[in-house]
């Protein structure tokens, strides 16, 4: 099982790509990589999830936690490139209404 997390931050803008499988085993890796950025004031973060081919509630948990801390610092988190499967996961949990998510193929970057 593998996960790839690439994050680049400069001047309060965080760009990231996440790929692979996010489950109970790999979610802690993602959480750890995001941690250094969660307390940056007014962070503008966009994570591209187009290469994520599996995710369950453990992944949702990491994104929700990151979303909450970014929000509490007056920042914004956007998740982009969601596959239909991922979009559905956010929708059936109700998180799609709360968080800023964008499906793959819709709009450009």
């Amino acid at each position: 099982m593998n996960i790839q997390v690439d994050l680049q931050e400069s001047d309060g803008v965080l760009k990231g790509q996440v790929g692979g499988e996010i489950d109970a085993h790999t979610a802690p890796v993602l959480r750890e990589k995001l941690e250094p950025y969660q307390n940056i004031e007014s962070l503008n973060a966009e994570l591209d999830l187009s290469e994520v081919n599996y995710m369950d509630s453990t992944g949702l948990g990491v994104f929700v936690a990151f979303y909450k801390s970014v929000n509490s610092q007056g920042g914004h988190l956007k998740l982009s490139g969601l596959s239909a499967r991922l979009k559905r996961l956010f929708d059936i949990t109700g998180l799609g209404d709360i968080m800023d998510i964008e499906s793959a193929g819709k709009g450009g970057s």
Binding site: A24, S57, G61, R85, I92
Partner: protein, 156 residues
């Protein structure tokens, strides 16, 4: 002769085996003709159940094991996940698991959180049994028995 094929896995209660269980169940499900989307649902539901079991078994003892039993019928798959490392008599345990009660399983729900919610949403039937640990018993039908299939269809 019983009307189903039975496959049982016993894995260490470690998170790295959640993916192994998921992939195995995915393989079994594709054998009985589930669609791609149904298999993806099964992968999530079984991962959630195994993840819960791994976490439960962990807190109890260091060398915990999780047992995953799969019964393959012509038109459905039944998956049982137990956080106590004992093989089960599938039919016997199946008879013992009760319907899922929000109140009684409050504690489990809180711990399981989103995971249990996803299991209930993605599977057709879910039962939870609390005795010598927690056993989750879930069923999915080929072709889907759900009536709640109106998950926004995209009409051009």
């Amino acid at each position: 002769m019983r009307p189903f094929d039975y496959v049982e896995m016993r894995v260490p209660a470690k998170s790295q085996y959640v993916g192994v269980a998921r992939l195995t169940i995915s393989g079994l499900a594709s054998r009985i003709g589930f669609t791609y989307d149904d298999i993806e649902d099964l992968k999530i539901a079984s991962s959630e159940a195994v993840t819960n079991a791994v976490q439960h078994a962990y807190s109890d003892q260091e060398d915990g094991e999780v047992v995953i039993g799969c019964a393959l019928y012509g038109d459905k798959i039944e998956i049982m996940v137990a956080d106590h490392g004992q093989s089960f008599n599938f039919e016997e345990t199946k008879a013992k698991v009760g319907p899922y009660h929000d109140q009684a399983e409050g504690e489990f729900l809180r711990e399981g959180g989103l995971g249990l919610y996803l299991i209930e949403t993605l599977m057709d039937e879910v039962k939870v049994h609390h005795q010598e640990g927690v056993t989750v018993f879930m069923t999915k039908y080929v072709g889907g028995e759900q009536v709640e299939e109106d998950v926004e269809t995209i009409s051009s």
